[in-house]
Symmetry: C2
Subunit: 195 residues, 2 copies
DNA sequence: TGACTTAAGGACTGATCGGTACATAATTAC
DNA sequence: GTAATTATGTACCGATCAGTCCTTAAGTCA
């Protein structure tokens, strides 16, 4: 068996770089030139390895979702309590405002906003992402319920959807120019609906 | 004084049509062709009247904001109570899901998501929109506070920002595929943080 | 060495992007 | 009528879009 000329780049690293471009610019505004520059590969390598801009985008959405779920799951495990984890997550939009400029938000929710119903494949990936995020928050809520931080009488699934909704809203508000302190106030108020 | 050849179209109607295109597709994905078709005018008329795609977009953002503030203010005036108005607004994302497909969301917040920091002029218009929406909700909350529907001890400004945030989040979730019933559950839960 | 396989370089594609130039049409003022 | 003014139609612009094709380079295997 022949192996041919070896790849001169790391496909996974290139994928990460592409994800960042989509994350920052969205799908439409991310030109192939933008992507190639960030990925530091040639056009031929790009099409050979990733097929098309749309296929690359799908892979970026999946990568983002996996990465995010992994990070959140790890954070939940290490958190002092379920509620503290939720507080940290709700405050994340505020951190984003003070950290890098401008805030990038969540790639999944950005994508939901950019092309809601215009692309069935993307809509499916977005829906999958949203439900997996909800799942992590449901775990956190159940953990908080088990120690009495949150009323066990409340439906954990509804609470989880509420958390996803609020975080998504806060990230949008961060992009709309809301100050970090205001975001923290709203996050704290949102938390009060959980207990 | 000479008046020259009269316009063969209604500039305000054309602007409304353009706004709908931007609302549905976003800025980048709205091509000049899309806009011209919807506005039912020629390219020459377009550039003569509106200057450029970007200027048109700015006018659409302003039109949307004015329209939205007008509609919300009227709805608040006619609402049985401040809190009932807030409930209706929070449920609007659910109505959007069952009504037209796919949901369009809020043009201002869609724009915040699409190009947060990449355009200073647009960022300014987005911020102006967000604060005017907040203002309307603050009025509703103060009205609710004055009749005891909402604890007067709470900061109306923070509550108003919370409402804007939650509605924005719900509209995003609607685009991400959340069911109408789930949206209503979350909206009701969100309301509980106000009392 | 040379056959084979795969990757990268670079020229090229048709389509579309937003925008312009200019001729023509429709109106008012005189 | 004619001049002046403004709107529309149409051809055109360079730039860029995503994507293809074909050559060349860099490896393995015999």
């Amino acid at each position: 068996m022949n192996q041919g000329r070896p790849l001169e780049f790391d496909p996974h690293l290139a994928l990460q770089k592409a994800m960042e471009v989509f994350w920052r610019r969205g799908y439409e505004a991310a030109s192939l030139q933008n992507l190639l520059s960030a990925m530091a590969i040639s056009k031929s390598s790009f099409y050979q390895t990733f097929g098309s801009k749309h296929e690359l985008f799908q892979r970026c959405l999946q990568l983002f979702r996996e990465r995010q779920v992994r990070l959140m799951t790890a954070a939940l495990e290490q958190a002092p309590s379920g509620k503290e984890f939720l507080r940290t997550m709700l405050r994340s939009a505020a951190s984003e405002v003070v950290a890098d400029e401008p805030p990038k938000g969540c790639l999944i929710m950005n994508t939901a906003t950019e092309f809601s119903g215009r692309d069935a494949i993307v809509a499916d990936l977005v829906g999958k992402g949203a439900s997996q995020f909800t799942e992590v928050f449901r775990c956190a809520i159940e953990r908080a319920q088990s120690v009495g931080e949150i009323d066990s009488g409340k439906d954990a699934e509804v609470l989880a959807r509420y958390v996803v909704t609020t975080i998504s809203g806060l990230k949008t508000m961060a992009k709309a120019g809301m100050q970090a302190t205001a975001i923290e106030d709203v996050a704290e108020l949102a938390l009060s609906a959980l207990s």
